[in-house]
């Protein structure tokens, strides 16, 4: 059980790593409190599921469409809400994510709480092919290993792209906006356009994460995309470190190891209590880290500021 | 000279751990006096007042108010002990009417009687009495300054601290404001004032101190200090502006 278990933990860490890269780009580098990331993830995941199941699209084409739709969602949220002050923007994005979830839960097209099923055939084919190859080196028994490899490959590639981007003059403008958007605007930078770009890229990253969530859970239902999962992303962020993409990797691995590791302890608790306990632990993470080391393990305190 | 209302000895204070703005300031204010502290930008004048009211925690030295140490107390306790403070900016509750501003001022000593203190303030500042229901946010700069002084005077402080009462006023209203300060003093209130407008402030003060780099540099009778060419050259710059 143990290896399979940890492969699954790795899959979760990778998926939420991709998800959290977007939060880092927003909260860590431009100072946008995006709390609607789960909503963008839901858009991406449901687009994939519905386009494949209802319209017979190829999974890969559907992935592209999902990313595009999430970006459109990001632009929509950005254009409407970016002029709000930071805490109001945060609330507006949560409300957006909740509306997305409510629509998915209650509308006809999304299958409500029954969810969406049967979109991952193409992935299964690819996965089986990969497993056959893996069997040659004696790893054919780990059925989630292909997903693990795909997720981490995507995560690391996206990570590298973002690190490179952050080092460019474009990335410097983002940091300037994080430090003081009025001063940056007074130097001739179109703050709104940069925030919009940052939000759109974050939404795209959320859609990629949503794609992998869809492959991982094998059927989609609305409560997978509860706003709580954005909070998980922030817990990873605050653990690993603000304004540091390396921190996202570290945060993802530590967070999911600690969280899932709690399953390995035998306790006298009921299943419900164990589930509650996990959330309580996440809550304490957020409370303690915000207090004791707000910049996170790899973050830089001087670069950690969000003004109202 | 009558009793010493406020005494500081070798006061050291600063906002962050390593950097001290005040490096040992010693001043004395006697009952009934107007004492003015002047000095160049960054000399620590405003910081001195903030240390006295408890907004900046003193790191060394002592502060005695009517003989009792107040160093390290929170501002609310210091106000209750009899220190009144008028900040330089944002010194009125903008969303509240004049009368509620004054009511808030009396909170530290409600036993004095609201009606009596209001009447005293409206006698001292008739303009406020005329506009008692007007929201403070709609007052002009000079009127705000008067309201801020009246608010600080409500609990009958032993001493009133004024942080640049004429800052930002049109020069033509500066003299009026100084006259108002003198009137408050004549009504029996001891005043410690910090001013940029050094020449005029010293001219109307009993005594003055010149601060530089967070230390006492000179002291003496107000008008004499204002005329001292050495002081003028070193610290005051535009005495004749």
């Amino acid at each position: 059980m143990s290896v399979d278990f940890w492969i699954n933990v790795g899959v979760l860490a990778g998926i939420y790593g991709i998800f959290t890269l977007g939060l880092q780009l927003n909260a860590g580098f431009i100072g946008l409190l995006n709390f609607g990331q789960a909503g963008f993830m839901a858009i991406g995941a449901y687009a994939v599921g519905l386009l494949v199941v209802d319209f017979g699209w190829s999974l890969w084409l559907a992935l592209l469409a999902g990313i595009l739709l999430a970006v459109i969602g990001g632009l929509f949220v950005g254009i409407s809400s970016l002029r709000l002050r930071s805490d109001h923007f945060a609330i507006a994005t949560i409300a957006f994510a909740e509306i997305v979830r409510y629509v998915l839960q209650n509308a006809e097209f999304s299958g409500g709480n029954q969810g969406v099923l049967g979109y991952d055939e193409e992935w299964r084919t690819l996965s089986d092919w990969a497993l056959a190859k893996l069997a040659l080196i004696g790893l054919g028994d780990y059925t989630q290993l292909p997903l693990f490899i795909a997720v981490w490959l995507a995560f690391l590639v996206l990570l590298a792209v973002l690190i490179v981007l952050q080092g460019t003059p474009w990335g410097r403008v983002l940091r300037g906006i994080r430090e003081d958007e009025d001063a940056t605007a007074a130097l001739g930078k179109n703050v709104f356009a940069y925030k919009l770009q940052s939000l759109a890229i974050a939404a795209a990253l959320a859609a990629v994460a949503g794609f992998f969530v869809a492959l991982n859970v094998t059927f989609l239902y609305p409560s997978v995309f509860d706003p709580t999962f954005t909070f998980f992303g922030y817990a990873m962020l605050v653990l690993g470190g603000f304004a540091s993409y390396g921190g996202v990797v570290l945060g993802g691995i530590l967070f999911w190891t600690l969280l899932e590791g709690t399953r390995l302890f035998d306790t006298a608790l009921s299943a419900g209590q164990q589930a509650s306990l996990r959330f309580i632990i996440v809550g304490f993470f957020l409370l303690l880290l915000s207090r004791l080391r707000p910049q996170g393990l790899l973050g830089n305190r001087a670069e950690m500021r969000v003004r109202p | 000279m009558s009793g010493e209302v406020l005494v500081t000895r070798d006061l050291v204070a600063g906002y962050v751990p390593q950097v001290d703005i005040l490096n040992g300031v010693s001043i004395v204010v006697a009952e009934g006096e107007i004492v003015t502290v002047v000095g160049p930008n960054g000399a620590g004048k405003s910081t001195l007042l903030k240390a006295l009211i408890g907004l900046v925690a003193p790191k060394g030295g002592s502060i005695l108010l009517a003989g009792r140490p107040i160093s390290g107390l929170p501002p609310s306790a210091i106000v209750r002990q009899g220190l009144g403070y008028v900040p330089q900016r944002e010194n009125v509750f903008e969303s509240m009417p004049i009368e509620e501003n004054l009511e808030i001022g009396l909170k530290p000593r409600p036993g004095l009687g609201l009606r009596r203190r209001l009447d005293a303030m409206y006698a001292l500042f008739p303009r406020l009495g005329e506009r008692r229901r007007q929201v403070a946010g709609s007052l002009s700069g000079g009127e705000r300054q008067m309201l801020a002084m009246a608010r600080a005077l409500m609990p009958e402080p032993k001493i009133l601290l004024l942080d640049e009462p004429t800052a930002g006023l049109a020069p033509r209203f500066v003299d009026l404001m100084f006259e108002q300060v003198a009137a408050v003093n004549r009504s029996g209130v001891t005043i410690l004032m910090v001013e940029q407008n050094a020449a005029r402030a010293l001219a109307m003060s009993h005594r003055g101190y010149v601060l530089d780099l967070g230390r006492n540099a000179h002291e003496g009778a107000g008008p004499a200090l204002a005329r001292d060419p050495k002081v003028a050259d070193l610290y005051l710059g535009g005495l004749h502006g």
């Binding site: 460019t168 001087a302 | 049109a170």
Partner: protein, 263 residues
Amino acid sequence: MTAPAGPILEVRGAVKAFDGLLAVAGASFDVERGSITALIGPNGAGKTTMFDLLSGFGRPDAGTIRLAGRDIAGMAPYRIANLGLVRTFQLTRVLAGMSVMDNMLLAARNQPGEHLAALILSPGRSRAAEAAARESAIGLLATFGLAAKAGDYAGALSGGQRKLLEIARALMTGPSIVLLDEPMAGVNPTLGRDILDHIAALRSARGTTFLFVEHDMDVVMTRADKVIVMAQGRVIATGTPAGIRADPAVVEAYLGTPHAVAP
């Protein structure tokens, strides 16, 4: 581009109200090209609001503002900055979590690397622009005595150094006019004199126009070519320092005589 004649900044009938209260109540004035112009007036006269309107941080409710002949009223701050008008703020606003050099480089104009498409399509142009910007940043930092601090976080600078950095950063954009909101506030007299000397030198060397708000009448009278006096949201006088001092309206509303009469 040859500089056209006429004032660089023309304000006509500018009005701005907050919550029904007029902060700027129909102000009109010109700022001459290459001048050092002071804007004075009591607190609440509308000086800072006027700066906000000029730099795009507020949209006038009425009136026109022309920068080199072009109407900029209500234009976004970044567009106005790109047209050559930059401002500093009353309380210095350096980007504390970035290095002094990054503060400077951020201000450079025409950096293609700041746009994603250009960055991907022609990384070479971005690098070239970066090298050029770095060179002029080093020069400006040296002028303002900050060369040794280039690698430090701007947040680690002293108050005076921040003020210098903010001005150097504004100049890094290659502006035609710089708005300084109380450049002398919170700096010691020696540094204040240095700042004023830099301003005078830059005006001579580059022909840059400066418009500044200041309370210290000595500074205004000795350093400005022209003075604009605001009171109650209106411009009540403009002229040379000597002319302003003698203007009865200014004496009445602002300066006062030694024996001002109670209103």
